[in-house]
Amino acid sequence: MQLLEAKSLRKSYGGVAALRDGNLICKQGKVCGLLGANGSGKSTFSKMISGVVKPDGGEIWFNGTKLDVANPQEARKQGIIMVHQHLSLIPELTIWENMTLGIEPQGRLGFVNDKASKETAQAFLAKFAPELAIDLKVRELSLAQKQFVEIAKAIAQQPKLLILDEPTAPLEQSEVEKLFAVMRELKARQTSIIFISHRLWEIKSICDYVVVFRNGETVGAIDFDTEAKDESLIVSMISGKEHRHALGERTGGRLDPGADTLLEVRDFKLRKAREGLSFKVKKGEVVGFGGLQGQGQEQLLLALSGLEQPAGGQVSLGGRRLKLRHPKQAVREGIVLVPGDRHKEGLFLQHDVLMNLIYPQFATRKTGFLLNWKKLKREAEEVIRQVNIVPNDPGKVVQYLSGGNQQKVVVGKWLPLAPKVLLLSDPAKGVDVGAKRELYDTVRRLAEQGTSVLLYASDHEELMDICDRVFILFEDQIVDEIFPAEYGEQRFVSASLRSAKAAGPAAAAGRPSAAAAGR
């Protein structure tokens, strides 16, 4: 039985087509995986179904009638609820106020019934985070907690069709499992779900069928009831190319053991950590920082970039002690950051690629007072070629690029400065397979040319594939050191999950860990 059918949905923004031909069928009580590379139009498509974006053309049929969803209210009335990729919570309102926002239960005389609101909120939030107090303000929550509130809010409205746009991005595996359990529950109650994710294992474990978008068009569907869950088929549908190993061959551990130490971090006290962390990085080495999310990996990179000040500690580069009070000092020393949130921290969205690419040079003495635009443009074109930004037009406004290409701009803007140390904060988050590969190719090339790379990635596989060494962080401390070339993924996961107290045995593994050396 099909609940919803979308036919030929179209949408363009200022002449740029976000979606050319979106088609999808939702079956009652099934989970539909919606797949596609960055910028293939998944979010745009979902927003049209939920009324947030008005289609330029196409039809939506729901329960056998043609729908004209003018706004989200309309969609809600029909029972279509969406959890947005970029969360739609109001930071200054409490959890319970957020969870009933727009559907406040009314009491007598049109007054809101706060008691009923709180009860609803409590009941639905309990499925995910029973420990969370519902009268906390949303701004005080972690990203994962916010995501749970968002999902609980959607489910509280007892949707007929639930659209989840990359709900798992900020979640870790155990939390994902919790979500899946709830999704199965909903399925049993005949709710249809559209589930968007870039992680194939999630798709394979929860979806009944998948629909794949490419370049704003529906390119196909696979029904797992009748067809195999063929990963390479899915990937090739997404990318339009034959699937190879996602990130190319493993390159970790190839570093010349005799390379000199370039960067030394000693006694870095992050946030409120009582003890500092210390490590050394060799020239051309790719060092990963893993572990559970939010264990200080991002703070470490931010502190090295000069944006945030650690409570204590020293950094030296090539044996020379550095003062890193401000990103300017870091940039001048050749320590550059590819931040986690590219829109907020990495790009000038409404400026063009050229402007974005040359901008960091303003902080150095590389450009004089008067700019030589011809030269700058040549340089930018060279960068575009190196990191393969598509389209290769330096005049393209960045916000019209797809996510992956935007990320290439963020990395590419540092290339003309020939950085000594490259800090990467989850650079592949929300970047599709093809772009991810190209991104890491660039990183590898830089490493080969002698740039030291410090990489934080939420995805284990990325760390395993790229890094020569991986430090596992827990509560702002290094608790383990892993050499991916020698250990399998299993070791990695278990290290991540181990508590700080269990860090001891890592040192006993024969190699004195940097963490131990720091103490």
Partner: protein, 320 residues
């Protein structure tokens, strides 16, 4: 432990810094002005501060929803002019005057709501344009100050109810009661939602444009109250009488800890902010400064107050 906890909570209450500031200003006043705490002085100070308090509440509602209202002062003006031009001593005359003022003020609110909410014009410019229209209308209605306000108005405004409650305070309480009423309705949360993140509010099915319109309409209620208080203490209509409230109300709102970005703060803060501004004027008065230094010192104190009211957010993060 419990007491400590409560202290902690209090300290992190959004009104904490502004309340401290208020106490400081009251303290300085008490030192400078003998008899500051006598009933007469409190009464007369409240009478002076009430118009700005109400105007600031009006401004606060609009700022909460992420807008700003530069037409506020002239909307007050228009309202006073209409009252003064139409009222006479009969109860029906009074009602007609207030009724017409209400209609005009709501029309101004609706115009602002439509232009800012539905047409998405930048509020800081479009409300300025509306301000010019209001001023023009006020000048047309009353090219020179005058008109008639029944004597009962200013008699009542100076009066005391039950021998302890000044009528001016009653107006502030009325404003707060209206806000308390709104607080318990959907629109209250929607104001914060739209101010906090318009996109998110829209995605939650909140009719964001209507909410902005409602914000301006709610604001109109406070504007009419402010106009009523002003005619009560001036007994006249004057096309220049409200001008100063526009910018003063914005200053009061910000000192009151309400973010100009919207969605953050508390209307009580605006009330305190307005009282603080009034008390600062009194400090200048009773400090008996040489006359040319008055403006300078007042400006500096306001900057100090602003900085102080912003400080708590400074503690949070170095860079926003």
């Amino acid at each position: 432990m419990n007491g400590h906890n409560r202290w902690h909570k209090l300290q992190h209450h959004s009104l904490f810094p502004i309340a401290i500031l208020f106490l400081i200003v009251v303290g300085v006043n008490a030192v400078l002005q003998p008899g500051f705490f006598t009933y007469d002085v409190i009464h007369s100070n409240l009478a002076s501060f009430t118009p700005l308090v109400l105007a600031s509440m009006a401004q606060a509602v609009v700022i909460l929803v992420g807008g700003i209202d530069l037409s506020l002062g002239m909307a007050i003006t228009l309202s006073t002019v209409i009252m003064a031009a139409t009222m006479d001593d009969s109860p029906s005359g009074i009602l007609i005057g207030i009724g017409l003022a209400l209609i005009a003020t709501f029309a101004v609110g609706a115009l602002n709501g439509l232009t800012v909410g539905f047409l998405k014009l930048p509020a800081i410019i479009s409300t300025f344009a509306v301000s010019s229209i209001c001023y023009g209308a006020a000048l047309l209605i009353m090219p020179q100050p005058g008109g008639y306000i029944p004597y009962v108005f200013y008699e009542t405004y100076q009066a005391t109810i039950a021998s302890f409650l000044p009528v001016s305070l009653l107006f502030i309480l009325a404003g707060l009661a209206i806000w308390a009423f709104i607080r318990r309705r959907k629109i209250y949360r929607h104001l914060y939602a739209v101010g906090g993140s318009e996109q998110a509010a829209y995605a939650n099915g909140i009719p964001t444009r209507k909410v902005k319109l409602y914000a301006f309409l709610i604001s109109s209620i406070f504007i009419v109250l402010a106009a009523l208080v002003i005619v009560s203490q001036t007994a006249t209509g004057d096309a220049n009488i409200g001008r100063a409230y526009t910018l003063n109300s914005i200053a009061a709102v910000v000192i009151g800890g309400i973010s100009l970005q919207g969605g953050k703060g508390n209307l009580i803060g605006a009330v305190l902010g307005a009282l603080i501004l009034g008390l600062i004027s009194n400090i200048i008065f009773f400090a008996n400064l040489s006359s040319f230094y008055q403006d300078l010192i007042k400006g500096l104190i306001i900057i100090f107050a602003l900085t102080l009211s912003i400080l708590p957010s400074l503690r949070k993060k170095a860079l926003a």
